[in-house]
Symmetry: C2
Subunit: 144 residues, 2 copies
């Protein structure tokens, strides 16, 4: 298994969404705790418990073409203690070439501090009402 | 505000579901943390942040007749540390007199240990696939 260390919960979350956007299964599973009973709920899906179910679900999602979507994570609310962090975010997906934005997802992500840095123990995503938030404008490429 | 103390996260969760079944707004809000930025997501609803939004939402739900439903909470998965607890449960609602069970809800509940006992900081509910789990059989009323 991966030995990648995430020094903060924010680092673990950044890696989680990087893995999701790149459809990188190894990076995705490096974010999840190996020690705890982990729980993952994809939007509209059944609850998955434990490493095997969680890994299988991401493998299937990534094989189905998850890598094609661009992802913009917004509106983070974070509640954190020394050993745990709870993040609530809105995930906005857009597929290049498609004009209509996908329905956004509201996600609850819980991280714990382990001997191997911060790891995810819970991801609960569900469809959010309303339209996706547009990604922030790209910074200007030419400054002067 | 309430001064009720919940000695464990399980006690807070029991009070949360008792408040939900009885449509008891004061008990419901006694479960939630007053110190932290709290987050509540009802199934299919927008994310609510802070005491005012959370209280208003429960007031509306209870006024709309939430008290008529019976609630059976099942399949708990709990991940707990000394200062926090994450519970994943399935909420099965049934309305007396209606044969068809409501769609179950999968919920993520996060509690923290505060100076005033254990309090809820996050409730994220979303529709779960599949049928509601039947309530456990009532214990026999006559033992001999």
């Amino acid at each position: 298994m991966s030995t990648r260390i995430f020094p903060t919960a924010q680092d673990a979350e950044a890696a989680f969404y990087e893995a999701l956007e790149r459809a990188d299964l190894e990076l995705m599973m490096a974010v999840w705790s190996e020690d705890e009973e982990i729980v993952c709920i994809h939007p509209g899906g059944a609850r998955l418990v434990g490493q095997d179910q969680v890994r299988d679900s991401w493998r299937q999602i990534f094989a189905a073409g998850g890598a094609r979507a661009r992802l913009h994570v917004a509106q983070q609310v974070a509640i954190a203690g020394p050993m745990f962090a709870v993040h609530s975010v809105q995930e906005n997906f857009s597929v290049p070439g498609e004009k209509r934005a996908s329905q956004p997802v509201v996600a609850t992500n819980v991280y714990v501090r382990t001997a191997a840095g911060w790891r995810m123990i819970m991801h609960h995503g569900s469809p959010a009402p309303g339209a996706a938030e547009p990604p922030p404008p790209a910074p200007p490429k030419i400054l002067h």
